[in-house]
């Protein structure tokens, strides 16, 4: 690439004010003797000027208030989500704790044997299986209820 071509390639960035001082000097020196580059430089300056004076879309009235209201709304939704997560965690912890406590009480009251339909329900394995099924069913029901609540809020 000769000097003319490399200077021409610099002209758009020159219009954007992004050439370093050495490059600016190079462009100026070349443009002094090259009619084509001088004219091109002027054209690019017109473009740069036009780009700096584009019609400005101004922010619509009430934008700040609407944004603030939406932030508050989103904040409330996020807080609700955190509350639900905390509630579900607390319920799960309560479920497992009460199951364990109840197992100890049930064993003490029945002397370690409480048979229904041939299964000893105060046996460790049967109790943990039964508790797991009850806990998961309860969690699924709670999740469905919360999901429906969210759908309702979105609809409203």
């Amino acid at each position: 690439m000769n000097e003319h071509e490399s200077v021409r390639a610099m002209l758009p960035l020159g219009a954007a004010g992004l050439l370093d001082p050495d490059e600016v000097r190079r462009v100026e020196e070349h443009a002094r003797t090259c009619e084509l580059c001088r004219s091109d430089l002027e054209t690019w300056s017109v473009y740069a000027q036009g780009l700096r004076k584009l019609p400005q879309p101004s922010a619509p009235a009430g934008l700040m208030e609407r944004t603030r209201a939406r932030i508050i709304q989103e904040h409330a939704v996020a807080a609700g989500r955190r509350r639900h997560a905390w509630l579900l965690g607390a319920l799960a912890a309560f479920g497992w704790t009460s199951s364990l406590a109840f197992w100890v009480v049930a064993r003490a009251l029945t002397g370690g044997v409480f048979t229904v339909m041939g299964v000893n329900w105060v046996n460790g394995l049967a109790w943990s299986l039964g508790s797991t099924v009850v806990a998961w069913t309860t969690a699924a029901a709670a999740a469905m209820m919360l999901g429906r609540g969210r759908e309702m809020r979105r609809f409203l």
């Binding site: 992004l18 473009y47 584009l54 019609p55 400005q56 101004s58 934008l63 609407r66 989103e74």
Partner: protein, 201 residues
């Protein structure tokens, strides 16, 4: 006006407002929105081209900012960080939407040239009256998003190369080459559009 707005922002780091936000002061976000609303909204309009979408993205930007405020690194330039959030939301939106080119009709079913004519403006005068810039803005709207982005950040927001790189998340050399291609592409489009308009009138 742009220069004046930029100059008034010189020295503004957002540190005080960020500290207030972290403490949960609700007025801090109002101050920040007030300070940036015109520039950020304008940037989003240039990016997505539609005022209603720009407003939605504007609001999402501030919501996202509130979510991320805890992880904001104070060594970063606040302005670049804010514009980067807006930029990413706009790019995500554009990825979901099919882009249009200069020759493709938009949702109204009319090509850009016809839209200008339909607006009841003298297109030849508009072409010659570069200062009004309506034609230039229309041509920018037809450029790819990564070109619109660098043009508006450089010429309207008067951002430095480093800031643009931070907003776009690309190296300095990429910003330079994108800006170069954007300007070349814009000039080609304007010249092509000008010729077409001249023949029409």
């Amino acid at each position: 006006m742009i220069l004046a707005a930029t100059m008034s922002l010189e020295g503004f780091t957002g540190d005080r407002e960020i500290a207030r936000l972290r403490k949960g002061d609700p007025d801090a976000i109002t101050d920040l929105i007030g300070r940036y609303q015109h520039r950020l909204y304008r940037f989003l309009v240039r990016m997505v081209g539609d005022p209603a979408t720009a407003e939605d993205l504007f609001q999402q930007t501030w919501i996202r900012l509130m979510e991320k405020i805890g992880s904001y690194d104070a060594r970063r330039n606040f302005e670049a960080w804010l514009f980067a959030i807006a930029r990413n939301l706009a790019i995500d939106h554009l990825r979901r939407r099919r882009g249009i080119s200069l020759d493709e009709p938009d949702d109204s079913g009319r090509a850009p040239v016809e839209r200008l004519e339909a607006a009841g403006q003298d297109v030849l005068t508009q072409l010659l009256d570069f200062e009004r810039g309506a034609l230039l803005a229309a041509a920018i709207g037809e450029l790819p998003a990564i070109h619109r982005e660098v043009l508006t950040l450089r010429f309207e927001e008067d951002m430095k190369l480093e800031q643009i790189a931070e907003v776009a998340g690309v190296p300095l050399s990429t910003v330079k080459s994108r800006l170069h291609r954007a300007l070349e592409s814009l000039r080609t489009r304007i010249e092509a559009l000008g010729k077409g308009l001249y023949e029409r009138t």
